[in-house]
Symmetry: C3
Subunit: 294 residues, 3 copies
């Protein structure tokens, strides 16, 4: 949508959309990703005992989006690893965060003002990846476009069960699709918007959409990181729409809106046990008996 | 095998083999698949709490065969999702079965006579998929042909562990290869027959094989669904052949012939614990000590 | 590196590198692989109850390297199964080891002097696979070359969690990357050497590298098999280098140098629980609280 008075905004958005992400924004992406890996219980221990496994986990955190997108499109999951500079940069970030003498690098990057800057820069990369993913899968149709954009935005979160398995951790009771964290859910909505834009159902230029959605993501993530807030900006809309389309949402729903990185530590807020209505219990028992006999 | 007196049968089989499966037979396939998803413990709860995860499970149930076949052949696992009509139809079936007001649609399709019709139509699709899978992989050789046909016929059952993982359920002690349900085993035998036919070792026209094997599958599945029977039609032959080639089959073997969909509910019939002979126990201990030292 | 006086050695290495691995060396590879499958607890039981699952496990053990390499390069994981002779040979080995009357074949091949010959021949195949894998991925860049060579050398070990899952066993607390067995670690170092050689950073002819690395692997594996030894030949170097680059290695490190096939039986030597320093405990708690709030 190009209004004559919005030309400066259009030019700003266009310039923003073509800003090169390598090396600075990618560097911020790697820093935030490896920081979150370091927060995981046992990650530091693992880096001492099994540095190779630790490095591999860091690579999954940094390049998970590319790996998943390539898997979905039937290409080599290692395709992105041909970009030696990116891999070397991510390796350097991993090494400095885990092994820098006196933990100096870690202390610098986790200093809150610095961290907020990196978090904001990471969102720039995330939105670019969603747009690129949707664009790359353009000729495959709607569903493939949306899936590709989604995994590009969510990254390692969508393979969290298996990334944890690599670290010797196994939590099958939850996964990022069953209980979506904010970045994963935002990526899902974002990929829908970018798909609508690509198929000309949303009358907005791609650069403008990238700009506005990035601003939205930056504001949300910086706010959530700075205030240690749980609240999802989508909750009001979802709590209005979901009961209409999908029946009553259980009261425990709101407590699940927390960042993926908190999910693995959420020992004090486990997903509430499924509360079955009497009708569902009877129905389930009857059907199970029927199925068992089939 | 074309006998002059069997021309009408040959024509019937040829017409049957070219019957378009979309939309009616595919619709029946989706209905039965999503019905079985609904029977799973916690599935209704999941549809309320995490509708997206529920939809994704339904897509795995409806299109698992295509996803697995594409994975095995090194193609994009989302390739079939370019067929928008099929995905929209399956989505509509999922929505109606889980969210139709007063559960109306579910009650209609699970009314036994209706359900038997859908079950029969699903088998038409299954056999067509096996034939198409074997045909598609023709130039890759015997083993790839058989594998492709098998996964096309078995569908989501072969990835049941991971489909359950998506629902937050993890049962590693069993899987569809270790304890085959009737559809999976029938697909295995079917893919063998179709491979033999494709490589001209079985002197029968493809259309006739499709016809006869479909009739066999329809009769078996309709009978098993209507009578809630466990008995596998393969048991007599297997109980004769297997001891010859593979040694004595443990007495618990017969109890494993139940439909995949019952497997996950089979809490009262867990696979019997491995009964080791004294010789195997000694041998195992001796070898484990040797291996530990290597 | 070709010195005039080393021409005989160069010719020997060249002849060695072009020695056809099929059928004799491949046969030895299959025998050792299926032997190790038979050692697994419950494997014999599984072969009687679910012969198809047992056969599939055997195929994973024999062809796991090809499957993994093809997955990493985005090709069909069943690509190697077009080689009918290899699959039939491996199937015959599986059948004879599990079902030969009076266990005759098993007793022959596990007779220690015979077994040592087979183990040596298996190492010839392993090193060839590493070299071939690095060569095949040459145009993809360093990291893809190393990854491909590594999975070709390690084989089924790298997918051990999922191979065990097929047998109904699930041990998520360990995996081959977290606690590397000798063959996996040797394959990792080997792939590094072959990658350096391919990219001309290591001034040695490929044939000579194949020869010397194979001799090294044969000596190590034959010694470890014959003496039931745990000791890894890499331990002295690693215990010197790792503390320099990766901080202090926990004292439990040395006990993890055992062959993969012993790993699954290593019930008396579980990985020591992570010993966190007080600083790490405090840091971890503080960060988890911060992350939970994000």
């Amino acid at each position: 949508m190009e209004l004559p008075g919005a030309l400066p905004l259009g030019e700003l958005a266009a310039a923003f959309a073509t800003l090169p992400v390598f090396p600075l924004f990618d560097l911020a992406y790697y820093i935030v990703s490896v920081l979150y890996l370091k927060y995981e219980p046992g990650a530091v221990e693992m880096s001492r005992r099994s540095p190779f496994a630790s490095w591999l986990c860091a690579m999954l955190h940094c390049f998970g989006s590319y790996i998943l997108a390539d898997l979905l499109l039937g290409e080599s999951p290692l395709h992105y690893f041909s970009n030696h500079s990116s891999v070397v940069l991510a390796t350097a970030v991993w090494y400095l965060i885990f092994f820098c003498p006196m933990n100096l690098f870690y202390k610098c990057v986790s200093f809150l003002p610095m961290k907020l800057v990196f978090v904001a820069m990471k969102e720039v990369v995330r939105v670019r990846k969603i747009a690129a993913g949707v664009h790359h899968a353009h000729h495959h149709g709607w569903f493939v476009m949306m899936a590709t954009g989604w995994v590009k935005g969510s990254g390692v979160a969508l393979m969290s069960n298996f990334e944890q398995l690599l670290r010797g951790v196994w939590r099958p009771e939850t996964n990022e699709i069953l209980h979506m964290s904010f970045p994963t859910k935002a990526s899902l909505y974002g990929t829908l918007l970018f798909t609508l834009q690509q198929t000309h159902w949303l009358p907005i230029a791609e650069a403008n959409l990238i700009f506005f959605f990035t601003m939205f993501m930056i504001v949300c993530k910086v706010f959530m990181t700075a205030t240690h807030s749980h609240a999802s900006p989508f909750a009001p809309i979802e709590d209005f729409i979901c009961p209409v389309f999908f029946g009553s949402v259980a009261s425990g729903h709101a407590s699940h809106h927390h960042d993926h990185h908190g999910a693995s530590h959420d020992v004090s807020h486990p997903p509430p046990p499924p509360a079955k209505s009497k009708e569902e219990l009877n129905e389930g028992t009857r059907k199970r008996k029927a199925k068992k006999a089939e």
